[in-house]
Structure formats: C-alpha cells, structure tokens
C-alpha cells in the first residue's frame, strides 16, 4: 500500500477547475453525462458512480458495460437504500447529490472502504453536481438549437435568445473558472467575494446583488460584505439585517434557497430591506465548513419579473463557489493562527511576539515612540503544577492570561512563551511610568486569588521591564534579566532593566558555577549558634548554620548563595551534607559532654528539600549514621514554606514526625496566616522572628506580637524560641512573658565546633542541674 499523500489545502477548488474545463469540452449531452460521472468518481477516487435522471440511470462507471445494476442505483438515488454493491460483491457507502430538481437528476458516488466521504469531498461533489447540471441544461439548449436549425424553421428571435443563453453559459463557466483560480491562488477573500457578487450581478442582469455574512459577535445579524447596484454613497446606507429578514435573511434562517415577491404594503415582507423598490429577490445560503454563515441575494426592480430555473441554478453555482472560498479562507486562517499562537491560552506565541516587536522597533524612526517590553514569570508556578496537577496548572495559566489581557490596551500584545513565562509589548508606550503603571496593574490583578478546580490558589508574578532601545532579542533578554532581579528582590514585584544587571547576571553565573564545586572542595562550613534557657542561660541546643568559605569572596552568609543553590538545585545535596554533618556533631557532643549537653541540634530545611522525595530517607540515614536519637534533631521550616499548605507538605512533615524528630517553624509571625495551619501540621516549636523581638526595644516597646505568639503556643502546647535576642531588656521582657528559650548575640554568636566545645568544657554540670 502507498502512504496517503497530504491533500493540498485548496484541493476541492483544483478538482473543480479540472472538472469544469473537461466538461466545457464535451460536444453533447451524452458525452457530458458520462464524462461528468467518470471525472466526479476520479476526483474522489471512487469505485462506482452513476447519474440518475427521472428514475433512470443515464450514465455509470465502475460497472461492466453490460451489467449496470440499475434497480439498485435508482433505489440509492431515491433514498430507499444507502449502499451500492461493487462488481466484486463488496458493499460500499455512497454519496448522493442533486443536480437539478426539474428532472430529479442525482449523482451517486460509491467508494469501497470504511468511513464514507469527508465533508470536503461531499462539498466538492455538490459543486460538481451543480456545474454538471448547468452544463447539461445548456447542452439541452444547444441540442434544441441544432434541432431547430435542422428543421429549417428557426425563428431568428428564438435563435438569438438561444445563442445569448449559450453565450451566458460560456460566460458563467469562464467566470466560475476565474473564481476557482482566484481561490487556488489565495487571492484575498474579499476580492473573491467581490468577484462572485460582480459575476452574479452581471450574468443574471440584476438590479441589486448583495453578499451578507453573519457578524462575528452577533450571529443573528447579517452585515453587508459586497454589493452591486448601488451608488457608492448609497452603500453606506445599507445596514445590517436580522436572520430571517428579507430573502437574504430567510435563506440563512431556513438554510435553503428562497425566492420572494414583494407583498404590496407589507414592509415586513420586503424581499430586500435595503431597497424598497425591489419587486422580487432570490437568495442562496453560504456555507463555511458546512455551517450557514451568510447568503448571496439578487433582486430586481422590474414588476412581474420571475426567475427561471436556469437563473436559480446560476445563483446557486455562485453561492457554492462563495462557500468554497469562505471554507478555504477559514481553514487557511485557522492554520495560520495555530502556527503563531499558543494553543493553551490563545495568546500569540514567541514567534508572533518577536515579529510584532520587530515591527514596533522598525517604526521607531518614523513615530519617535519606543516600545516597552515586560517579561513576566508567575512565582512558584511549579508548586501548583506539582501539587494540584497539570490540569490545574493549565487552568491557572489560562486564567492568568485572561487577567493579563484586561490590564493592557487593545493595541498592545501579550504573548505566552511557554511554561509560566509571558511577555507584553506596549507599543508607543508613553514613557517609563506608563510601563510601570501597566506592570503594577498586572501584579495587582495576578495577586487576587484564583479559583482553580475547587482550590483557592494565591500567586504572584515577577515582572522585568525594558524600554525599546536595541534589537528585539536584546530587549527580550534584558527584560528577562530585569524579571530575574524582580524575583530575586522578593517576588510579586517589578524591576526595570539596568545595565548593571548584566554584571549581576555574570556574577550569579560565576557563583552558581563555584557553588557546584563548593561541597566537594570542602569550602562549606557549618557554624553553630547555641539556644539557651532564658532563665539560666544554659545551652539547651544548637542551630546549625551553613557558611561558604568562598576562595575569592571570603566567608559568605546564606543570603548570598542560598537562592542560587535553590535555583541550580544544588540545595538538596548541600542540605544533605549539612544535615549529616550536624547530626554527627551533635551525637559526638552528646557523648563527649554527656551531663553538660543533652540538647538538640536544629537544621534548616529549604522548600526545595521539603519537596524532595528522598528527604525522609536522608534524615533517617543521617540519624543512623551518626547514632543520634531522633528527638535530638529539630528540623526548622520557614513559615512561608509551610504556608503553601499543600498535601505534599503535610504528608512529608507527618512522615518526618513519625521518625521522632522535632519540627520547628522558623521566622514565625512574618507570614500572614495564623491558627489555620498550625492545626494542620505536626509542629513542636515556634521560633519568634527576630524582627518582633527587636520591636520590644522600639520606641513603642511593642510586645503585642511576641505575646500573641506565646499565647498561641500555650494554646497548642508548643515550645517557643525567641530569635535574635540582642539586649538585656529583650531578655527580661521575654522571660517575664513566659518565654523560656532564646538565641541571639546577647548570649552567643554562631561559632565553629571548636568554640562550642570550649563552651561546653567551661560549663559546670551542676549549674545545669540547678537550672532544671
């Protein structure tokens, strides 16, 4: 078997051109009938075809010449059965199309194999039937003329009429051929429709010819697309009509050919509402991929004028061609649209965005107005995808793109670049403020909660802004850099591109490269900050804090490299290394300084580690390797991580808890949420964020939040550790409020293991006993 060949987009038009030119060469009716049947069958590669006129098979193909199953073919033509039998016995589906209802002429085409005929093939067969009907009618006239001549009684007037009709036939076929050529060569749709209206108007010698199509946003309204028979100024006066109104509206409403006479005095039944002097009109529906989308109407002002069958068929032939052109143009448009749009959101894709951006840049010398480009990335989109599934992610992207569209002007372009990245082109942006204004609107719009598959999802976006200097690629890259800065600055905000960002980017790249090696090359160090009993100042635990001894930049705080570690996924191995080291250290101390140090070690977990499936095994492994009791390990999670409030987080924490480790919430109070999630998570410890502790020393001496946290903790039976205790006053206030644990410079700075050991060695075991 051969591979199917993709069909050319305008295949039907080609086939019709071919069909028409072959029929035009047929000398008589018999030849035209046989040729029409054979060529129709060839066009759709059918096995059998036949032409039935008034209950008799007048031409057939695919059967042996002496064995045409006339009864079966006629039964199919009359609708009594829907299948033909091939000469070799196989049954096959067939298509039946009407040529002409005067003689009840029908073309039947049968093709062996499943599936029957496609909509496109059916439409082609209708077009062929129409052309064949026209040809046969005209050939009948030609036969009549020949007869008259032969009989020698030809009246000159009759002859003249017949000749004129013949000329019209030639005209019609030539015009249809030209229209088909125009469709094939992708002449703009408007021009093709104009040519169809022009052809109808001239060939039918009408006073008025109008082509109307449904409005895009109101399918019940038919607007004028092309018209003949009006003065140019009068054209503006032709308003839209409703479906059902006049001959044109009726053809659409009833999906069929209609003819109307004017009913005198009844204006509601005007054949053509745009022209009250019209006396009769006929209209044919126009189809686009099988749906009625408009109509072609022609009308006359001559009283008493009636339309002949031939005229009706001419109108129908033009209407079929208009349908062909509309369908072809639609399919082409759809294909073009799909090529440059994102299928999920319907927004332009990167290619179209770049094209528009390049055009906007090219216009700058003329307009003097620089475009602005916004590069947008939805913060933490991956979490939505991971926790709620891809369907929810897609839903969120669609909803976000809808909101984006409400924030920009009609002339601006919002595009999706894939994933959660969007770009917005603000053409002739009126300066920096305008771009930032739009960015602000977008941030606000995206900060409102989304409702995605029964979940409330809160999100934010980071936006980079750049103004139109440079080429399109530069602008996009710079906007991307600025977006990165916005994200680094804390998400949910926008940043304008500055040349220094290039330097920062290079710096980040260098850092990320170096970080990859830091773990292997032992450049990372763990410092420990003691956690003390606020009443006795005795050390009850230590928090492990990682530092990077960078070869060129010195000792770096986590703030300088943790984000890069997260972005480059170095955080998981790094975190694992810290965890194992801290467990080893704590176990060692608990053995060596038994009686002096029986406390726990706290290790911070990042969001990325928490979503790592290997975390629980890592923790279990670290405890076993070190020989550390689980309750001597406290894992700290920041409130923002916890606030994602996802089932995965809950499951992971519950699993950790089941090992026996303690769980603490770091930086508690900085998030907006409160009780809601404390109930959901198996938490043991709350750590009051340093910012609230320092507030105690402020002018107002604000103790509200620490007090609220302590009350809350008491309600849930949780321990509380105050972070960042730096002054004696803070110490006293916290102690007086019932806070028993704290850490900060007032007691001890983070220090290396050796320094911690010195502390333990200096501790009097008895003092611990007193404190407890």
């Amino acid at each position: 078997m051969t591979e199917p060949t993709p069909r050319a987009a305008n295949w039907s038009a080609q086939q019709l051109v071919e069909f028409l030119s072959v029929l035009a060469d047929c000398p008589d009716r018999g030849a035209a009938r046989q040729t029409g049947v054979e060529r129709a069958a060839e066009a759709v590669e059918a096995d059998m075809a036949a032409l039935v006129v008034a209950g008799a098979v007048v031409a057939a193909t695919g059967y042996p010449g002496d064995a045409i199953p006339e009864a079966e073919i006629v039964a199919v033509a009359e609708g009594a059965t829907r299948e033909l039998t091939a000469p070799w016995g196989e049954r096959c589906p067939c298509a039946v199309v009407e040529l002409d209802d005067i003689f009840e002429a029908r073309l039947i085409v049968g093709r062996v194999g499943a599936g029957g005929f496609s909509a496109e093939e059916a439409s082609l067969l209708r077009g062929m039937a129409r052309v064949l009907g026209q040809t046969l009618r005209m050939l009948d006239l030609l036969d009549a003329e020949r007869r008259l001549r032969a009989e020698g009684e030809a009246q000159s007037r009759e002859n003249e009429r017949l000749l004129r009709t013949l000329q019209q036939r030639q005209d019609l076929l030539e015009r249809l051929a030209r229209i088909q050529q125009a469709i094939v060569s992708r002449t703009p749709l408007g021009d093709v429709l104009e040519a169809i209206v022009q052809g109808t108007h001239e060939l039918l010698e009408q006073d008025v010819t109008i082509l109307r199509l449904r409005e895009v946003d109101d399918a019940n309204v038919l607007s004028l697309v092309a018209a003949r028979g009006f003065e140019v100024e009068a054209l503006h006066g032709i308003g839209p009509i409703a479906v059902g109104e006049g001959a044109a509206g009726l053809a659409v409403a009833e999906k069929r050919w209609v003819m109307m006479d004017d009913l005198l005095g009844d204006t509601s039944a005007l054949a053509e509402p745009s022209d009250r002097s019209v006396r009769a009109a006929m209209a044919a529906p126009l189809h686009e991929n099988g749906l009625v989308v408009g109509s072609l109407v022609c009308a006359t002002r001559t009283p008493g004028r009636r339309y002949s069958r031939a005229e009706r068929d001419t109108l129908l032939a033009f209407a079929e061609h208009a349908s062909l052109a509309l369908t072809d143009a639609k399919n082409f448009d759809v294909a073009m649209h799909q090529a440059v749009h994102d299928s999920l959101t319907g927004l332009p894709n990167r290619a179209l965005f770049l094209d528009r951006l390049e055009h906007a840049i090219a216009r700058v010398p003329r307009t003097g107005k620089h475009p602005s480009v916004l590069f947008l990335d939805i913060d933490d989109f991956k979490t939505v995808n991971d926790t709620l599934g891809h369907a929810a992610g897609d839903h969120l992207l669609r909803a976000a793109s809808d909101r984006l569209m409400t924030c920009i002007r009609p002339g601006d372009t919002a595009a999706r670049f894939g994933g959660d990245e969007f770009a917005i082109l603000l053409e002739d942006s009126t300066g920096q403020e305008a771009a930032e204004l739009v960015a602000g609107r977008i941030l606000e719009a995206l900060a409102q909660p989304f409702y995605v598959l029964d979940n409330e999802v809160r999100t934010s976006a980071s936006i980079g802004i750049v103004d139109g200097v440079g080429d399109a690629d530069d602008l996009l890259r710079n906007a991307d850099l600025a977006m990165y800065r916005a994200k680094a600055d804390g998400k949910g905000r926008c940043a304008r591109f500055e040349p220094a960002m290039h330097v920062a980017m290079l710096d980040r790249m260098a850092m990320s490269g170096a970080l990859q090696h830091a773990v292997q090359e032992l450049q990372l160090r763990v410092l420990y900050q003691p956690i003390v009993d606020l009443r006795s100042s005795a050390i009850v635990g230590v928090e492990a804090l990682v530092r990077w001894q960078h070869p060129d930049r010195g000792l770096l705080e986590p703030a300088r490299f943790m984000r890069i570690a997260e972005e480059t996924h170095a955080i998981v191995p790094l975190g694992r290394w810290v965890l194992r080291g801290a467990c080893q250290q704590a176990a060692l101390w608990r053995r060596r300084f038994s009686g002096r140090f029986d406390g726990s070690v706290s290790v911070n977990l990042s969001a990325e580690q928490l979503s790592d499936e290997g975390l629980v095994d890592d923790v279990r492994g670290a405890l076993q390797a070190a020989g550390l009791r689980p309750e001597a390990l406290t894992l700290e999670i920041t409130e923002t991580v916890l606030m994602r409030d996802t089932q995965t987080t809950i499951d992971r924490l519950t699993e950790l808890k089941s090992i026996g480790v303690q769980l603490a919430v770091d930086d508690f109070g900085t998030g907006y949420s409160s009780l809601q999630y404390l109930r959901r998570f198996p938490i043991d410890v709350l750590k009051i964020a340093a910012v609230f502790v320092s507030g105690i020393d402020g002018e107002r001496g604000d103790t509200t939040l620490p007090r609220a946290i302590l009350d809350l903790a008491a309600g849930f039976s949780l321990s509380v550790v105050a972070e960042g205790v730096e002054t004696e006053r803070q110490h006293q206030v916290l102690t007086s409020m019932g806070c028993h644990l704290g850490q900060g410079y007032l007691f001890h700075r983070p220090m290396d293991a050796g320094a911690i050991e010195e502390l333990f060695e200096a501790t009097d075991p008895l003092s611990l006993g007193l404190a407890n």
Binding site: M1, T2, E3, P4, T5, R7, A8, W11, A13, Q14, Q15, L16, V17, E18, S21, V22, E38, A41, E42, A43, V44, E45, A46, D47, M48, T61, G62, Y63, P64, G65, D66, A67, A86, P87, W88, V112, Q180, Q181, V184, S185
Partner: protein, 389 residues
C-alpha cells in the same frame, strides 16, 4: 482443487538478426506445456514484424497472440534491445481471449473499449485480468483506460503498457494474431482458477515546492504558476544548456525529471515529459496533465527506483495465496534512463528473485497501465508487475 500443474507460463527469447528465425526460436521455447492459450510478444521495432509473426505462427500455430514493439525487452537473461521475447501461457486452469481496435487516435475511448471486448469471451471467473498493449503516441492514454474500464467495470483489474520504438518517438507497432498494427490497442483477457496480482510503484520523490498548472490542454502543459511551462521547468531544474534548445537532448534530460500529479490518497501520479515546444514554450506529456492540478517536479536515483521494484513485486505477490507461476513486468523506459545498464540488470535480478524461480518477462514501455481501484489507471515512470499463480 487447483494446482500449479493446471497452469504454466514459459518465456522464450532470441536476438537472431533474422526476424522469422528469432520468432520461431523464441516461440518454441515459450511453448512450455500442454493447452497453450495465449502468447505475448515483446519485440524490437526494427524487426520485420510480419516475418517475426510468421516465425512464431510456425512454431505455435493457432495460439491467440498479442504483442508490441518496445524500448527494450526483458527476460530472466536481462535486458536486450534487438531481440524478441515471447511469453507462453497455458494449462487447463488458464483461459484467454484477445481483441483489438485500430484508429486509436481518432477515438481513444472506443479503442480501449474495443480492446476490452475479449472479456466477453472468457469465463466470468473470480480471477480475471485484462491486459492492454497500446500505441503510446496515439494520445491521452487515460481515455483508453476509461474506455476499457467502461467494459470491464471495477471488478476486473487492468494491466499493460504502451508500445515503444527504442526512444525514437516516431511510430510504434502492436500485434494481434498474425497482423502487425499501428495506432491500435490490443487486449487479452485472462481468466484463471487461481489468484492474479497487480503491483505498481514509481520510486520518485518530490523536489521543491508544488506548482499550479495554470494552462494546459490534454497532454500539453502551457503554463505553470502562470509562467511559460518550459522555462519554469528548465530553470527550476537547472537544466544543462544543450537541453534548452535541442529536442533530443531535452528528451533525454526530461526522462529523469518527470512531473508528479497530486492525488487524493495514493502516490502522486507521475507524468513523463516527452517533448518541449521551443516556440510556444510548452511541455508535452504522454498523458493528460489537467489544468488546475497541483504538480511537483520529481527526481529519483538508483536506490529509490530499485526500492520501488521490490515494492511493486511485493504488492503483486501479496494478492496470491501460493507461489507465482510467472511475473510479467511493464517497466517505464525512463526508469531505465535513471538506472543505467548496471542498475537495469540489478532491477531484473530483483524481479527474478521475487519470482522465486518462476519465469520473468516484460518490456520497457512508453507508459504503464495498472488499475485495481477507482478509474485512474494510467501511469508514467512506474514499474507495473503482473503476478500469475
């Protein structure tokens, strides 16, 4: 019960310069069993064909015969240019009848129908085939196919080829019984008690963008993409200088650069470009290139053409339910141009390999006929294989 013993084919060939001797020798070899029912004769156009038929008639008196002149004769021995190949068919399981129609160019359709009339003279068995040998220079060959199809209907496959004249493109001959004909179509209806298979493949591939036939009449193409067809054809293919003004050079160049005609669901139909009119800048094809059709320029090489050989044989053999008793090949002369002597020998070897020991015969054609589905059945630049079981 059927068995291979019911049916036989045999092939004889001879390149003796004396026509009568060559005919007699080849026919004697082709009488490979009892009850011969049909002889197929493929002969060099330079022979005195009447003398040739006389020699054959002497060796196989009264056996129905059709044949034609060629552009090269094929037998298991390879390809020859000044020889005759005779295929004999017979046995109680095979029956055959022949007919012919002269004056093909005046009414191609009627000629096709006339040559198909022999179908009425064989039993209406489930396994039938109509072989047509035509004058490829008589006009639109698809009209001949339509005419034959109108008699045969969709249930009988059509197979065959256009006679050749060694690429002279002047005059070809058809043979029927003891008569040598010109401008004719000869037909043989074969009815068998075992399956018959037909395969057709071209082995060409599209080059560049499609073009629209904006003006054509029957076999002549005047304009492509609304430009003079000849100029566009020469320019797009970067034709050598001598092909741009010399008819013979052009024909040689065009042999390996056909047009591909877009079809709905099968391989594009290949249209062999036979000549150029340097005055009106049109192209001539051996079959109709309809106005409005979408066409591609095509190219092929040894590998693609040989791949098609295997595919055509496989298609033909797939209809059988047992080993073949013979393969008959109708091979386009243009494929010979692409393959050269070496490749042509390789192609015949491949056909012989597919025949698995059964006789192989055929000829190089100016156009091939193979219709198993639908009506379209005329091909160019293809290999058509008929497999008998």
């Amino acid at each position: 019960m059927t068995s291979a013993l019911d049916r036989w084919t045999a092939v004889g060939s001879c390149n003796d310069a004396d026509a009568e001797t060559a005919g007699r020798v080849a026919a004697t070899e082709a009488m490979g069993g009892p009850d011969p029912c049909l002889l197929l004769v493929f002969a060099c156009h330079e022979y005195d064909l009447e003398a040739l038929l006389k020699g054959i008639g002497g060796a196989a008196p009264g056996v129905p015969l059709i044949g034609c002149s060629t552009a090269g004769e094929i037998s298991a021995a390879g390809v020859q240019d000044s020889s005759v190949v005779v295929v004999g068919l017979g046995g109680t399981g095979l029956q055959a009848a022949t007919s012919f129609r002269e004056g093909a160019s005046e009414d191609l359709r009627a000629a096709g129908a006339g040559a198909a009339a022999c179908l009425h003279d064989v039993p209406e068995s489930e396994h039938r085939v109509l072989m047509l040998l035509t004058d490829g220079l008589a006009g639109d060959q698809q009209e001949i196919v339509r005419g034959a199809h109108s008699v045969a209907g969709g249930g009988v496959p059509l197979v065959g080829g256009c006679a050749g004249d060694g690429l002279k493109m002047k005059s070809t001959f058809q043979m029927h019984g003891d008569r040598v004909l010109r401008n004719a179509v000869v037909g043989a209806a074969i009815s068998s008690n075992a399956p018959i298979g037909v395969g057709v493949r071209h082995g060409w591939r599209r080059v560049g963008d499609p073009m629209l036939v904006t003006s054509s009449a029957s076999n002549r193409v005047f304009r492509l993409d609304d430009q003079p067809a000849l100029d566009l054809y020469l320019d797009r293919l970067k034709a050598p200088e001598d092909a741009r003004s010399d008819a013979a050079h052009f024909t040689r160049f065009a042999q390996t650069h056909p047009l591909g005609l877009s079809r709905r669901s099968v391989e594009e139909h290949v249209r062999f470009i036979s000549d150029a009119n340097f005055e009106d800048r049109s192209l001539g094809s051996i079959a109709e290139v309809p106005q409005g059709a979408l066409v591609w320029l095509m190219e092929g090489d040894d590998a693609s053409v040989l791949k098609a050989t295997d595919a055509a044989c496989a298609d033909a053999l797939s209809s059988l339910d047992g080993p073949p008793i013979g393969l008959i090949a109708f091979d386009c002369i243009a494929r010979r141009g692409v393959l050269g002597d070496h490749g042509t020998a390789a192609e015949v070897e491949r056909v012989a390999a597919n025949a698995a020991g059964a006789p192989v015969a055929g000829f190089y054609t100016y156009g091939e006929i193979a219709r198993t589905r639908g009506i379209s059945g005329f091909h160019n630049q293809t290999l058509v294989v008929l497999a008998l079981q």
